[in-house]
């Protein structure tokens, strides 16, 4: 069996004296087991009643009473401070009221935050919109330029065709065209000398050539 040993030097029980490692425990040599009956020599032992003189009794009672009132007051004070004061009221109306007040306060804070956010958000959205509009405008411009270029190309083709169309043979020109073709036959059977000059005719001498048509001039 073990028992706690108090150091009589310190009259208060401190946390160190009641250590976790049981360093202040001493073994007790013998304690009667709980199931053994009372010893024969001790069955009829009547312990004498303690006699305390009257004056001492009065003094003791006074001291004890004052100590107990002090402890009681301390305990009540601490209970009030830590339990009763912080205890939420059981009344549902009261709880609802507390919640509502708190909620209103939080809503106010949140409203201000949301308003600030609104301003920043609108600004950001406007900026993004501007960026998008610029991008769209640039694209439109590029598209227009492309369309113009296309148009010009098409017009160029049309112009060329129109020009060529002037030399088309229509039903009005046909007689003249036939007459012209008959009188001005094109001779493809020509020779080219070293300078690139065409030599027409079948029986030509190079020195007797009178008609000299330069190919380079026709280009």
């Amino acid at each position: 069996m073990l028992r706690l040993v108090n150091n009589f030097r310190n009259l208060t029980i401190t946390k160190e004296s009641l250590s976790i490692n049981y360093t202040n425990y001493q073994p007790v040599r013998w304690r009667k087991p709980i199931w053994l009956p009372v010893a024969k020599t001790k069955i009829f032992k009547v312990p004498p009643r303690t006699v305390i003189p009257e004056e001492e009794k009065v003094e003791l009672m006074r001291l004890y009473n004052s100590y107990r009132t002090q402890i009681k007051s301390l305990r009540r004070y601490l209970t009030y401070k830590y339990c009763t004061k912080f205890l939420a009221s059981e009344d549902p109306e009261e709880q609802k009221k507390i919640f509502e007040e708190d909620f209103a306060r939080c809503i106010e804070i949140n409203k201000k935050w949301n308003e600030e956010q609104n301003v920043l958000r609108e600004k950001r959205v406007a900026e993004e919109l501007e960026v998008n509009l610029d991008f769209a405008r640039n694209r439109i411009e590029l598209e227009l330029i492309k369309q113009e270029e296309k148009l010009q190309k098409v017009e160029e083709i049309v112009r060329r065709e129109k020009e060529q169309g002037k030399s088309f043979i229509t039903s009005e020109n046909i007689d003249e065209a036939i007459e012209y073709a008959l009188h001005n036959s094109v001779d493809y059977n020509f020779a080219i000398d070293l300078n690139g000059e065409k030599i027409f005719g079948r029986e030509n001498n190079t020195q007797e050539v009178k008609q000299k048509v330069s190919v380079l001039a026709n280009i």
Binding site: P37, F86, F103, I109, W113, R121
Partner: protein
């Protein structure tokens, strides 16, 4: 390693979860976060969800927390109360820290309330108690008391059935 799962497994450690500071009010039952996965002004909310939501759910196990993605042009957080009220918090282009601090201010329990709750918890947590919801179930488990009659029988003289039925003995 089998226990370090996910992108940032530190979010699953006890130490990280216990460090959460946002404890929602008792009346809040649902907490929703709406945000897009892509978008510069959604990045703060996305980080908030990634880093702080585990802490919030750990500290508020009875609150339903939902994330709704890719449904909104601007991110926002909505809290639903028991009474039917709602609180909408616009978090466009805010960083995760800013969002967290604002939430603590607006929907979190105040420091005073938390302190009171801690004290109340201590009072009910008296280690000297024994009984139904305590460490020790019966008085026989306490040092210095009579051991359990189930292990060592109590002396006959102490037992009521022996004392009062001695005549029939």
């Amino acid at each position: 390693m089998p226990f370090m799962k996910g992108v940032a497994p530190i979010r699953r450690t006890l130490k990280y979860l216990e460090a959460g500071r946002l404890i929602l009010k008792d009346q809040i039952k649902i907490f929703t976060v709406n945000y897009n996965v892509i978008g510069k002004h959604h990045a703060g909310t996305k980080d908030f969800v990634f880093w702080y939501l585990p802490q919030i759910q750990y500290k508020n196990p009875h609150v339903q927390i939902a994330t709704l993605k890719n449904l909104t042009p601007t991110p926002f957080i909505r809290c639903f109360y028991e009474t039917g009220d709602q609180m909408i918090i616009d978090v466009d282009s805010k960083s995760k820290e800013e969002i967290y601090e604002h939430l603590i201010q607006v929907v979190g329990k105040t420091k005073g309330v938390l302190k009171a709750e801690a004290i109340a918890k201590e009072k009910t947590d008296n280690p000297a108690n024994f009984g139904a919801l305590c460490d020790r179930h019966c008085i026989c488990e306490i040092l210095g008391q009579v051991p359990c009659p189930a292990t060592c029988p109590v002396p006959k003289i102490w037992r009521g059935k022996y004392k009062f039925q001695k005549v029939e003995d």
